[in-house]
Every structure is written in structure tokens, then in C-alpha cells.
């Protein structure tokens, strides 16, 4: 149980503020990014009519999420937002699944990763809303249905960022804790691999999907 909460930190002094960087998470994130780049390179290298394995996997991701984006945003906007949605899903999915490889662990296990992804989605959604509706109509939406609801509407918008990032973080961290505890209780016999498969592959996959869909839905709500 000692490994809970043991992390490698880099503390940088920046004019009085102490900025703490969690090095493990940075390294893991870079592994995910490089893995995605390599996957993308090989999946798109030799495109054929009869696709190979990697190309099929890549096309499944692109096709599925393109059609989901099209359903939510319409044909025109799907062209500009689908690449972001597809990339977001693949990034979160790889982040969640990397924990299945021994000695690697999920970047999403650290609140900073989901929070920054959530903030990114928030900024993109509001940018899309302003661009689509114009600034006046965008602001007017906050005074709906009555003007004094404005502060509560703003809190509601901020709470979306909190809920989307804590949901991913809580699920991944909860899975890690459960696997760790059960491994200790049964002396690492028999059960842990199955539990690991359930929490990392199954729950990780579902949560990656939920995270992406919610980002998409938040954009759709701002746009309409």
C-alpha cells in the first residue's frame, strides 16, 4: 500500500510561486502522444482499398466518431470539429489503457490531465458558440429564462468543467485503488489480472467515450 501517493516531483521556483510538476505523469503523457503518432503514421502510411489491420482500426475510430459528430453538430461543423473529437477520444482512450502495461500508469490518474482536457473542451465550446451565434446572442443565453439567473448560469457552466474532469479522474483513480487493495487482500493471486482488465479496459473505454461525448454535447449545446 506504500506505493499510494509516491510520486516524482520537480519543483520550480518562479518569482515566489512554487510550481510543482509531476514528472511521472509528464513522461506517461509523452509516451501516449508518441504512441498515438506512431499509430497514426503506420495506419495512414499505405492506404489501400482492402485495408490492413492498423488501417481498419484507424478507420473505425474516424468513421464512428465522424458520424457521431455529424449527428450532434450537423454536416458543415462536423468537418471542422470532427478531427478534434476523434483525436480527443483516441488520446483519452490510450491514456486510460496504458495502465494495462506493467510499470506504466494512466496520466488520467492525475487530476491535472482531465482538468486540462476539460478546460480545453470548455474553451472550444464557448469559442464555437460565439463564432456560431455572435457575441450578443451568446451573452443573451446567460440571462435565460430571467435576468437574475445569470450568476447561477455562469456557475452552472463552470460546474460542467468540474464534473467532466472529476468524473474521468474519479473513475480511473477508483479503479487503480480497488485493484491495489484487492491485490493486497488476496496476496496478488488469481483475481488481480481480471479486475485490472475490467477496470482498465472496460471502465477506461467507457469513460473515454463518455468524456468525448460530453465534450461534443457541450459544443452542441453552445452552438444551438
Amino acid at each position: 500500500m506504500e506505493e499510494l501517493g509516491k510520486i516524482h516531483q520537480l519543483i520550480v521556483n518562479l518569482s515566489g510561486y512554487q510550481m510543482t510538476f509531476n514528472l511521472d505523469i509528464l513522461v506517461m503523457t509523452w509516451i501516449v502522444i508518441i504512441g498515438l503518432l506512431v499509430f497514426g503514421f503506420f495506419a495512414a502510411r499505405k492506404q489501400q482499398m482492402i485495408p490492413g489491420t492498423l488501417q481498419t482500426i484507424g478507420e473505425t475510430f474516424v468513421f464512428q466518431f465522424y458520424s457521431l459528430t455529424e449527428d450532434a453538430l450537423g454536416e458543415d461543423m462536423a468537418k471542422s470539429y470532427a478531427p478534434m473529437i476523434i483525436a480527443l477520444f483516441m488520446f483519452v482512450l490510450f491514456c486510460n489503457w496504458i495502465g494495462f502495461i506493467p510499470h506504466l500508469y494512466e496520466p488520467t490518474n492525475d487530476l491535472n490531465t482531465p482538468l486540462s482536457l476539460g478546460l480545453m473542451g470548455f474553451v472550444i465550446a464557448h469559442y464555437a458558440g460565439i463564432r456560431q451565434k455572435g457575441f450578443k446572442k451568446y451573452i443573451k443565453a446567460y440571462f435565460d429564462p430571467i435576468f437574475f439567473m445569470a450568476p447561477l448560469n455562469i456557475i452552472g457552466e463552470i460546474s460542467k468543467v468540474i464534473s467532466i474532469s472529476f468524473r474521468l479522474f474519479g473513475n480511473i483513480m477508483g479503479g487503480t485503488i480497488i485493484v491495489l487493495v484487492v491485490s493486497h487482500l488476496v496476496f496478488s493471486l488469481l483475481l488481480p489480472p481480471f479486475l485490472n482488465a475490467f477496470f482498465v479496459l472496460f471502465i477506461g473505454g467507457i469513460q473515454a467515450f463518455v468524456f468525448t461525448m460530453l465534450t461534443l454535447v457541450y459544443i452542441a449545446v453552445q452552438v444551438n
Binding site: A72, L152, R167, G170, N171, I178, F202, V210, A220, N224
Partner: protein, 405 residues
């Protein structure tokens, strides 16, 4: 003042914990088994020819629904005879916490696993030939509904058998909070995972060809419904293992109990709510197999939004646990922190259930009228956003109680 030595307090705590564990733990299983029996009676009156099979199915289902109560019995017996090796107030708190965790945590799973048992009996009356696959689905469904009770049992074991007694005096509050958090937190998810399990049995009797795909959807829906229980488990862990040595005992202790209550209570509503959406998803898959992809998407989104109140609870718990407090002997601050936890916790119950109702209806209508998927999704999200507002008010009041007092 009575003078009671600490050894006696540990015994008192063990006995109290055993009573709490078995007392609360019996509630859910009894309701669940009653539901199964009622459905079985109904089924026999509809199709008396197969009464033997139905009774067999009922007995198997009830035996499984009883698992949660048996967990509570095990913890109760262990508390009576095996626990309490170390003599300190922290051990005593751990024993009460273990009783609360297991007792409260067994309620939801008991009720929840009654649903598949009952619906399997009803399905058997409708489709006697499906007896084997109905039994399989029921067994998987009940087992999935037991997961929150298993989380509670794990926490109860840790509270009983890990030696916390060397810790700082805050541990008394922290262990009580951990027990309350896991206990309350498992109620909603237990009941909630029962809905998809029950609807999968209904659907199987209606569309036998969908069998294995219904099981898949049931597993997805139930797994997502268990997220609130996982949040409660995370908070329980933090309460047990984060070291509070060096922080002042007085306001911190109240904050720790408040942290447990915030996530635990808020998880009740979210668990039930996401379960409602998952149940509608299973119903939709059986009713309209063609639309299963659309139903899955709206089900997952609806469930995720239903969980927002429990995430507010998680946030308040984190704030309560990690905010540093100035030492004070005045009990006003302690009251305010406890009240903050209660406020977000209770405030999340209604919003969670309400969001779940909206999602349930949207999911079942997407299955029936798939062309309107986009409109239904938008209406669902607007409806949920509005019914969440009371949970947001509760969070605002809690934050005011924490930071302005």
C-alpha cells in the same frame, strides 16, 4: 462523568457496529426477496402449468439476493468475536465505521438484486422455454448488483483489521467518516444497478434473439451506475490513508465527517438516477434492436449527467479534506464544516434522481422514435441542467459555509 476505560469503549463499539451492520444490512435483502416473491406469485397466476419452474427460479433468485445480507452477517459476527485487538479510541471508531459501511452498503444491493430475480420469474411465465438463458442473465445481473456491497465489505474489512491506532486523534473522525461515506455511497448504486439487470431479464423474455447483446448493455449500464459508489470508495480511502498529523484536531475532525457525508449522501441520488437510465437502455435494446447504437449513446450521456451531483459531492469532500484549517476551540467552525458536507450530500439526492428520470424517459423514447434523437438529446440535457440547479445551490451554500465562516 462516568469513568469508562478505553477497553470497554472498544467492546461497546464492536457490539454497536455488529448491531448496525446486521440491522441495516437486513433491510435491503428483505425488500428484494419480497419483490422476487411477489413477481413469482404473479407469474404463477398467469401461467400455473410451470409453477414448479417458477418456484425454483424464485428460490435461486432469492438465494442470490440474500448475498448482501450474508455479507452483513459475516461482518457482524467478525465484529462480535474477532475484532478489536488494539485498545484505543481510534480502533473503536474503526469498528463502528465498519458496521456502518457494511450495514448501509448492503441495503442497495439487496434491493437491486431483487429486481432481476423477480423479472426472471415473470419472464419465465411468459417464455417457459427460455429457462436456462433467463437463469444465466439473472445470475449475472444479481452478481453485478452485488458489486457496491462488495466495495462496502472491502472497506469494512480494512476498517476492522488495519491497525490505525498509532495515528493522530483525527483518525476517530476520519474512520467514522470513511464508514459513513462508503455505506451511504453504496445504497444508490446498488439499487441503480438492479434496474438494468431487471430490464435485461424482461427484455430477454421479449426478444430472446437479443440475449447476449442485452447482457452486454446491462453490464455497461450497471458499470456506469456504479461510478458513484467508486467515488465514495475513493473518498473513504483518502479519509483512511491521508495523514492529518499536524493539522488542528478541532475543525478538521468535523470536516472529515462532513467530507464522508458529502460524497456518500450525494451518491445515493446519482446511483439511482444512472440506474434508471440504464434500465431504460436495456428496455430500448429489447424493444428496438435496430436503434441500439443511438440508445447506447444517449444512455451513456444521460447517465454521465445524472452523476454530476455526486461529482459535486466529491469536489466538496476534496475541499473539506485538503483545505488547511486554523486551530480553533470554537465549535461554530466545526458545525459549519459538518453542515457544508450535509448540505451538498443531501442536496445531491434529489437532483441525481431527477436527472435520472429525465434520462430514462429520453432513452426510452429514442428507442421508439429514433428520428427525433437530436431533439430528445437536447431536451434531455436542458431538462437535466435545470433540475441540477438545486444541487448547484447546495454546492454554493456549502462553499460559503467552508470559506466565508
Amino acid at each position: 462523568m462516568m469513568s469508562i476505560d478505553i477497553e470497554a469503549w472498544v467492546k461497546v463499539a464492536a457490539f454497536l457496529g455488529a448491531g448496525l451492520s446486521m440491522g441495516f444490512g437486513a433491510i435491503g435483502a428483505a425488500i428484494g426477496e419480497g419483490f422476487a416473491a411477489a413477481k413469482a406469485n404473479n407469474a404463477i397466476s398467469e401461467n400455473p402449468t410451470y409453477s414448479g419452474d417458477i418456484i425454483k427460479m424464485m428460490l435461486v433468485g432469492q438465494a442470490i439476493a440474500e448475498t448482501a445480507a450474508i455479507f452483513a452477517l459475516v461482518i457482524g459476527v467478525l465484529l462480535l468475536f474477532a475484532a478489536g485487538g488494539n485498545v484505543s479510541m481510534i480502533t473503536a471508531a474503526g469498528l463502528i465505521g465498519a458496521g456502518l459501511s457494511m450495514g448501509l452498503g448492503a441495503i442497495g444491493s439487496g434491493v437491486g438484486s431483487g429486481f432481476p430475480a423477480g423479472e426472471a420469474c415473470a419472464g419465465l411465465a411468459r417464455q417457459p422455454a427460455l429457462s436456462r438463458s433467463l437463469t444465466t442473465t439473472m445470475l449475472i445481473g444479481s452478481a453485478v448488483s452485488q458489486t457496491p456491497a462488495i466495495f462496502s465489505m472491502v472497506i469494512a474489512f480494512m476498517l476492522m483489521f488495519i491497525n490505525f491506532s498509532g495515528g493522530s486523534p483525527h483518525m476517530v473522525a476520519a474512520l467514522l467518516g470513511a464508514g459513513l461515506c462508503m455505506g451511504f455511497g453504496a445504497i444508490g448504486s446498488g439499487i441503480g444497478s438492479g434496474f438494468p439487470a431487471g430490464q435485461a431479464c424482461v427484455g430477454l423474455a421479449r426478444q430472446p434473439a437479443m440475449g447476449s447483446r442485452l447482457t452486454t448493455n446491462m453490464l455497461i449500464g450497471a458499470a456506469v451506475s456504479q461510478t458513484p459508489a467508486i467515488f465514495a470508495m475513493v473518498v473513504s480511502f483518502m479519509l483512511m490513508f491521508v495523514s492529518f498529523a499536524g493539522t488542528p484536531v478541532h475543525p478538521t475532525s468535523a470536516a472529515l465527517i462532513g467530507a464522508g457525508l458529502a460524497t456518500g449522501l450525494a451518491a445515493i441520488g446519482s446511483g439511482v438516477g444512472s440506474g434508471l437510465a440504464a434500465g431504460a437502455g436495456c428496455e430500448g435494446w429489447a424493444r428496438q434492436p435496430m436503434t441500439s447504437g443511438n440508445v447506447l449513446v444517449i444512455m451513456l450521456v444521460g447517465q454521465a449527467v445524472s452523476q454530476t451531483p455526486s461529482i459535486f459531492g466529491l469536489l466538496i469532500s476534496f475541499v473539506l479534506i485538503f483545505k488547511g484549517y486554523a486551530a480553533t476551540e470554537v465549535f461554530i467552525v466545526s458545525t459549519a464544516l459538518l453542515s457544508a458536507g450535509l448540505c451538498t450530500g443531501l442536496g445531491g439526492i434529489g437532483a441525481g434522481v431527477g436527472n435520472g428520470q429525465v434520462a430514462e424517459s429520453a432513452v426510452s423514447w429514442v428507442a421508439r422514435n429514433v428520428e427525433q434523437e437530436a431533439v430528445l438529446m437536447r431536451t434531455m440535457l436542458v431538462g437535466q441542467a435545470v433540475s441540477q440547479s438545486t444541487a448547484i445551490y447546495a454546492m454554493v451554500v456549502s462553499l460559503a459555509l467552508i470559506f466565508l465562516v
